[in-house]
Symmetry: C2
Subunit: 404 residues, 2 copies
């Protein structure tokens, strides 16, 4: 069902054939226009197993990630992760079988970054060619695989674009940390100059794309009920110890939700809720499933909007569609899930605009990131993002300046 | 120190002398222009003891309010409230003594609503005169005192304007519920037509006033440190069982904070934190005091912004100024509290604009309020706000229509 179309599967192979611009052109005299090497756009996300056989390694990597989950056992986390992954694999394999045999996140991420790069080649010729890559934290292509590909492709300028619109140290932070760790190993001489787009919770492209999808979903309800349909913005939850540490995530999730409601002129009642709690620790609520159960009887209709993900994945296709709506709901006909952003052209235009603005601004990372890294508790990572991305007070020369 | 200036103390007395327009004018023939009775603008808030002797009754009323706090003892809540209030009174009396002998919330609320009404008389002549009132939930003037005054003054049209910018069922909900209960007793024939402004988390006046105060506070730091000063938006916390029930509050607090940062062009690092936790139950964090303690050493400066209150009160003047900064901080010189909105003209202009827009729109209550009331668990209250405010599908005739 979610098998990758051929043109997607070959995306990474094709990238390696992109023309390499000689970096030695920098040695030419100033009268000769310098060639540059283009710009890699790397979509970072948690990823998901594309096939059933990848489920165990996905779960193991996820539970072993101390940036994402602190299992409270220090250096024994990898051991405990093996135990948990082994125990959970049969159940999670069933979930992936139920949604067609794998996560569509690679398909959609590849499509989105390729399309964004096509737009960028037109809007930002000074930094072209824009080369699309995907780097996942817990599934292929792993961070180190993509990093090696960048090095093989002779990339010298790359944008690490977090596909979590709202920053959490446990998600975007983890991806950046991993990129840093692998850079230490694979690119110790730092041939690639990185910058990052580490959050974009209220970018107009994101907000408008969500609003469009909600409006379309509203049309599926009877006209007389439409204005009374409730909108539940559902984000992946986090444990309360992460929330209470001061993680940026819940405030940014709320900012996105509020911006979408503003775009909709607050036409409907709404609430921010949280899903996918796991384990015995307290997590942030209201819980999507419990809250839906509480309100479904008195509601004319409910739309659940996956507000913190940019494409479909197990939490939309299984947890919401199959568990919450098809299995557990008392009034399943009242509850619909908003289409994920997936191939939304509005969204992809927004992604391209974000990268375009980022490249033109010369910003290396957001003003907020050093604060997140100070509050976070990553192991084997930099103390300050400037160690990775360079001095924040200096900005990268824009590609056009480098070129001329 | 916070004694009320004479012109404030007499505000309520003066209001009773406002000219009463005869309601019998409605009986006149259609050719005769009808007189109307003006518009009462009622600022609702929790209030605070204006004198030390009011501390016990304030605490008792607060802990007895089942809409605010569920002590988990059902109908014995009043009894337990007496016990808690008695135990806490000596300590809280000390706090109020330390800030000058009482809360300034009545002084500021009276000033704000009077000034807003003066503006409204100019901008909205069709609904003039606008008559200023304050109704507190736990301190004088109590809801029932103010309601009686409205009735004595012959008011027939009133706006219940919640002075909590962000909606929580435990705050704004509690004030509306109390107004409903007292209306049942004091105005059973419903001579007053009420509407409510129940939330305004991102109103431009509010946002700009906070941004102005933050900019002014930033000037107190050395110029070279200014851009590195961290902004902590501190809101009163809520117990996790309220958060997990789906209360609107945390998302709206985040919306305000994000809007203020947007107004400031994200010039500084910021975080949303929560203060004033009490009792053994888990509350929403990050906790303002703990978080400040964690970051103060590495911070160049910190500004704490009371983002969920519209004037000074014990939580700013004692909890932040005296406890957090003057007593507990290791680096008190680095930490400053942003001025509360108090007498800010930008804020007061915004308040007037809010009421003006509300009156012109004919809206009775926000689209969101019925959902909040469905999720909330108030006792002895309406099932739907339309029972109090009328049918939401019909709007109140604007005062000008009534007049002509």
């Amino acid at each position: 069902m979610f098998a990758l179309p051929k043109q997607r599967l070959t995306a990474f192979n094709r990238l390696t054939t992109l023309k390499r611009f000689s970096t030695s052109s920098k040695l030419l005299g100033s009268q000769t226009p310098k060639k540059h090497n283009g710009t890699a756009v790397v979509f970072m996300n948690m990823g998901g197993p594309s096939t059933i056989s990848e489920v165990y390694s996905f779960l193991y990597k996820l539970f072993a990630d101390g940036d994402l989950i602190n299992l409270g056992v220090g250096r024994f986390q990898a051991l405990l992760a093996k135990f948990i992954a082994t125990r959970r694999t049969p159940m999670i394999e069933k979930y992936y079988k139920a949604i067609g045999g794998g996560s569509p996140i690679l398909k959609w991420s590849t499509y989105q970054v390729e399309e964004a790069c096509k737009i960028l080649d037109k809007t930002n010729p000074e930094s072209a060619p824009h080369k699309p890559y995907v780097a996942f934290r817990y599934a292929h292509p792993y961070t180190e695989e993509t990093l090696q590909k960048l090095l093989d492709d002779g990339v010298t300028r790359a944008v690490a674009f977090s596909q979590y619109p709202q920053f959490s140290y446990s998600t975007t932070g983890s991806s950046i940390n991993e990129l840093w760790r692998k850079t230490q190993i694979l690119d110790p001489n730092r041939t690639i100059q990185w910058s990052t787009i580490d959050r974009w919770p209220t970018h107009p492209g994101l907000v408008k794309a969500f609003a469009q999808n909600i409006k379309e979903k509203l049309l599926e309800f009877p006209e007389e009920d439409r204005s009374e349909v409730r909108i539940l913005f559902s984000a992946h939850s986090l444990p309360m110890d992460v929330i209470n540490s001061g993680d940026a995530y819940p405030a940014e999730v709320s900012a996105t939700s509020y911006a979408v409601m503003n775009e909709l002129n607050f036409s409907n009642q709404y609430r921010v809720v949280y899903q996918s709690q796991v384990g015995p620790k307290p997590w942030l609520g209201a819980q999507t499933a419990k809250f839906t159960e509480k309100i479904e009887e008195k509601s004319k209709g409910i739309i659940i909007v996956p507000i913190a993900f940019t494409s479909d994945h197990i939490e939309t296709l299984h947890e919401i569609d199959i568990e919450l709506i098809a299995t557990d709901a008392k009034f399943p006909e009242k509850i619909k899930r908003c289409e994920s952003l997936n191939g939304s052209q509005t969204f992809i235009d927004g992604l391209a605009e974000l990268v375009s603005d980022h490249l033109k601004s010369g910003q290396l990372y957001s003003k907020q990131l050093p604060f997140d890294c100070e509050i976070g508790v990553g192991r084997d990572v930099f103390n300050h993002p400037s160690e990775f991305f360079g001095d924040h007070t200096k900005t990268i020369k824009s590609a056009s300046e480098e070129k001329n």
